[in-house]
Symmetry: C2
Subunit: 382 residues, 2 copies
């Protein structure tokens, strides 16, 4: 008989207690899946909502082992986890999804790029370098993007190098440099795979980046692309998750070039900012899909119910302290507008405090509403 995955008898462990874990708990409640969370801080977004919360460091071997050893399935909501501990837990029989070897690969952007190369996954040309001094060799290829191999997150650890003057003060750690792609759009596909090998991808979305914040500013679903391109992006994501032989959710960020080629930019082996709209816009949300995938359950229908735009709710510049959501009541008067606050008590500049999904049968109307939403609401302090 298949092991029970709901109720008292089953423990799902989540490493990391941020907003992705919080929305996973919100989804897990519908299936009575008991979610145990470990994070360094009890005031993390999952703090009081986890079935049981453990204070611990996700980078510490001992903390991860101690937390994970009595869990039935272990998953992550951030990829910067102590992988050696996850490998040991896997040996001990704990199911760890995504698998530690996948996390290891994805934690290192150098290995990630090499994997694409070896598996004929289209990606921007690149070179690996050991440190800042390594940049000199590639002066003839300027301008290029400089990325730390490890530890980057939310736009940190990525810089544009335009001239040799920029070498000075660049990251002095193992890194990669890659061609700056002249893309026409940034797209994202979220794909899921369960242990049985079932694979389903969500429809492609289009991300509008804020150059200033180096963060997704708007996300549009569906993307404004041809059916052929939609199919191609979906196939690429499916190919990737299968070649990774991964169980769980994989967010695949793509560049669409002027020549209508798709290049894989980066992947994240977890729920992702580019899938938040699925809560309201698709038959199954990315959070429920992730749970289905890692629990060995049938994957849900990813089809679109309604068009939508997602806007990140970011701490305003020059405000640091207890969060105040100015304009919230005006926002709440708008129909088809869904607020998701992450339960962070203090705001600081550019901190992701929540997101808002704007739905409309017509994507163009949703875009108009989204611009208005962005004008109305501001995260400041009291």
């Amino acid at each position: 008989m298949k092991k029970q995955w709901y109720g008292e008898a089953f423990k799902l462990g989540v490493l990391g207690g941020g907003q992705l874990g919080r929305m996973m708990i919100q989804s897990a409640m519908n299936y009575d899946v008991h979610v145990y969370v470990m994070d360094a801080s009890k005031t993390a977004p999952c703090g009081t909502l986890a079935y049981e919360f453990t204070e611990g460091d996700i980078q510490s071997y001992d903390d991860v082992i101690n937390f994970g050893k009595d869990k039935d399935v272990l998953t992550v909501e951030i990829e910067h986890i102590n992988v050696e501990a996850l490998e040991e837990l896997e040996k001990q029989g704990v199911k760890v999804f995504p698998q530690p070897r996948v996390l290891k690969l994805i934690q290192d952007k150098g290995l990630q790029k090499q994997f694409y190369q070896e598996n004929n996954i289209p990606t921007a040309p690149f070179h690996l370098i050991e440190n800042e001094a390594g940049l000199e060799k590639y002066t003839s290829e300027l301008p290029f993007i400089h990325k730390m191999r490890k530890g980057g997150y939310d736009g940190k650890g990525v810089a544009v190098i335009k001239t040799p003057e920029d070498f000075d003060g660049a990251f002095d750690v193992p890194a990669l440099i890659e061609d700056k792609i002249n893309f026409t759009k940034e797209l994202s596909v979220i794909v899921a795979r369960n242990e049985q090998g079932e694979v389903k991808s969500f429809p492609v979305v289009e991300c509008e980046f804020s150059e200033e914040l180096n963060l997704v500013e708007f996300l549009f679903s569906p993307a404004d692309i041809s059916p052929a391109l939609e199919q191609k992006a979906s196939n690429l994501a499916k190919e990737l998750i299968e070649k990774l032989d991964m169980v769980g959710l994989l967010a695949v960020e793509l560049f669409l070039t002027e020549e209508e080629d798709l290049l894989v930019n980066e992947v994240a082996p977890r729920t992702h900012n580019s899938g938040h709209h699925t809560i309201e816009c698709n038959y199954v949300s990315q959070f429920e899909q992730h749970l289905r995938a890692i629990l060995g359950l049938p994957l849900g229908d990813t089809a679109i119910k309604t068009a939508g735009v997602m806007v990140n709710l970011i701490g305003e510049k020059n405000f640091e302290g207890p969060a105040k959501y100015e304009g919230m009541e005006e926002l709440m008067k708008m129909s088809g507008v869904y607020v998701h606050l992450y339960g962070k008590s203090t705001t600081k500049p550019n901190r992701k405090m929540g997101h808002i999904t704007i739905t409309d049968q017509d994507i163009e109307q949703a875009k108009i509403k989204a611009r208005k939403v962005q004008e109305v609401i501001k995260v400041v302090t009291f």
Copy 2:
């Protein structure tokens, strides 16, 4: 400046920790409203999900006072609360919504009926009786419905009296008897009102009762009624919440007679089983609307996004013990089918263990899917 209603600075207290509270928490998470819950049992559906959980008896004056005294707003997810304690808390400055005087009225079905009579709200003709012996006087009016004035819940405390032989063994407590209405449909309207006096009602739904369980078996949204009748039912619900001068959510159960008249059957001053479909089917859910109403926020758009059917997930007869959801995986393969388990670890016959909402653009298709859902899933034991 208006008091903050999210984050650390604000405490929302909920009396009762059942499924209605659980779904309220799920909704409150989106707005970072901190929900404190009191219930007799830590294993209640809200047990581990509340921001803070207090073990206490909702019928105990002291427990309610102790729990309520430091809350900013106090609400209920069941109406059988110690009202004297709520009245005292209200005097002390705690906002209690629904107001204690409304709860007092609604806790007593006799007072409820008198209120309808005094306010020209159409309802079935009735008499109040003191005890079982009081039934004799109305033999000429048989058959009739016999309802305990206080303490009834989920079909308990209600009986059909057909012949004088049924008098023996009938409830021997203060009760009311009312005409058995030959209704063609049972309808329900959920209406909300905030402190500012804003009032909004959800579209009318149709309930298909199970005679056997004395529980809603299917709920259909929208109801299959004329626009004129829809308007009439909506107006009646609005009139009622205004005459009650109530803040919060009010579920109004209506009989539609053969003459196309609407009669108020009963009301509940809280979120209600007949509004569960709103989570997926309407722009705002009843749980968020309740929060908006009691927090003095703008009410949300109640319009229908998609047609739907709600089915209660009830413990099968002859099974008592750790809950097993047979057929769950087959169910999860169906598109537009949403599972809500309530986190109750043990099942027993007729216990409400969860509900399932089946959505479809076409209500007739949703009904077909709902019958299939009902065949597929069974709550049994391991």
